[in-house]
Symmetry: C2
Subunit: 339 residues, 2 copies
């Protein structure tokens, strides 16, 4: 391993709005040696999702952003290449927040907890990074535990072709609802309509969302699954039906830029329509993951649920992967495969 280096991305500067590759710097260090009680893992894949933008912005839920000169945060999967820890053996497949690097050392808890993983429900192990992981659970819990769909409900989903959104769309249809998707390019819109069979799809970059909503759901939206925040959330609030449930899942449109978030001025429609807007944090629903993944797995096995992975290769493409999800160029869950 002596001539192998550990490629790592450091944060060089904070972006003012849009992230650029120049905000990061790729350095090559020695591959670290695990000490007594430690494990060396080699990163196989990292997953890119829009909230990661906050690691170099507002800091997100913790308010902690990555310090300048420190390694960029990130989560993914790896394989144990050396173990001096009784609980791990060479070859174990593992998941954790190893950051943007090719090799990482941990004692299993610090600097990051390590979890052994295996493929679920006949899916490739990378599915643990989306449909068999947090995204799948988020779609399932957000829809069934928070929104609670009834047959005939009109469900609006933003970022409908995204990792979570596409699952919500499909679950909504399977549950007897009429699903309207919002996405940002023609390829996604066509896929949502032709492959997922959504009733209506709105391209928010080329169409007037408020007008289209009045047209396609004149009686209002029963469930809005919000992945984007901003103007689209506000517009959706303006078109809710009586008793609507707004599930706050993400706010992709707001992660870039400063802490000055767009506040939805139509919020008072929650009173007029006796509606509810609720946020949730998927890791509070760990007790629901097993059911979620089992049922999603069954649907996939029966050909009733599909998902896409959008894979870039090589450590040098980590910033490109983040930029893709922030600009919406990705088609499905954005992964970067490192080895």
């Amino acid at each position: 391993m002596s001539n192998i280096k550990n490629g790592r991305w450091l944060v060089k500067s904070y972006p003012e709005d849009e992230v650029s590759v120049d905000n990061f710097e790729l350095v090559y260090d020695e591959v670290p040696e695990p000490g007594e009680g430690e494990i060396l893992i080699q990163t196989t894949s990292l997953v890119m999702s829009p909230p990661l933008r906050m690691a170099i912005g507002t800091g997100g839920i913790t308010g902690n952003r990555v310090k300048l000169g420190a390694m960029m945060r990130g989560s993914g999967q790896g394989v144990v290449v050396k173990s001096r820890h009784p609980g791990f053996t060479e070859g174990d497949r593992v998941a954790g927040a190893m950051g943007w690097q090719e090799y990482a050392v941990t004692d299993g808890e610090r600097p990051f907890p390590l979890e052994k993983i295996s493929p679920k429900a006949g899916q490739p192990i990378t599915a643990n990074l989306h449909v068999m992981g947090a995204s799948g659970a988020t779609a399932y819990v957000g829809l069934y535990d928070i929104a609670k769909p009834k047959v005939g409900d009109v469900i609006l989903v933003s970022a409908a072709a995204g990792s979570v959104g596409a699952l919500v769309c499909q679950l909504g249809k399977i549950s007897g609802c009429r699903v309207i998707g919002i996405a940002g390019n023609e390829k996604k819109c066509r896929w949502l309509k032709d492959d997922l069979g959504l009733s209506e799809v709105i391209n928010y970059k080329t169409e007037n969302v408020a007008e289209r909503l009045r047209e396609v759901c004149p009686n209002g939206i029963d469930i809005y699954f919000d992945n984007v925040g901003g103007e689209i959330l506000d517009t959706a609030l303006g078109q809710i039906a009586h008793g609507a449930r707004i599930v706050l899942c993400g706010a992709t449109s707001q992660y870039e830029g400063d802490a000055n978030w767009y506040g939805p001025s139509n919020y008072f429609n929650l009173v007029y329509k006796e509606a509810t807007m609720q946020g949730f944090y998927i890791f509070s629903y760990a007790h629901r993951f097993k059911e979620a993944h089992r049922r999603l797995g069954e649907l996939i096995a029966n050909g009733n649920l599909v998902y896409n992975e959008d894979v870039l290769k090589g450590v040098e493409n980590l910033p490109a992967g983040l930029i893709r999800v922030l600009s919406g160029e990705n088609f499905g869950t954005q992964l970067v495969r490192l080895s």
Copy 2:
């Protein structure tokens, strides 16, 4: 009755922001004669509440504002002075949306439904316009059906000395919660602290609400009962505890001015704190009124609940009554007694 006239207020112009008496015009017409199947009532009291502002603004839930030259909307109580309707007798006490006038004719349904009333739970009949009416039910349902308080919850109430707010404060205390009130003048703040015994009171006109909230509830707000909207809602959202419930009841700060409402940019804290923001419309909870009024009546009878009426007299003071509640000068429910 020949030399008695019917004083009525017409809407002369729409206010750009703050309402002035010049937006209205007082005219004196003949007292109308009830036709076959109709009832003539004499207005005794009208109740003023901030949402009435929307009748000459955005139009509120229906979007219908009072036309220029038409009579101003309003609800209150009256007494039947002439009846040609089998269901009503001279002397009956009645309630309805008779508008800003001293005498009104209706067939019991049109132009407005008329309801016979009697005093409830030993209270004066005007209490039907607040604690034994919609305000009482709103406080009770908003707190127990929507927010669902638990012992030890920190409850923040805005417009805490108002018709609804003061009841929520007292119910919250009785239910074992720690109640923090926000009000806009010293008289109200002193009453909330000294008479209602609230833990903390914030004068939003002289104090920094965000700072004071961090000081008095560093672990966050479990229930925010919002009567005002605007900046205070946004600030409260910034200080919610995990699992918080925000009850949207009113938006007094937003009724004046155009449809450009203040959108709360801290709404995403609903995700970070797994919180819920819910609106409700009290007339959907008609089935809960009986319980609400019985229990509120018991609390009043036992000396555990108090309320204030702020009474102006004379038809000429109707605009002044509305202006008082919009500027927050009223102390308790604002009534205008006409006869």
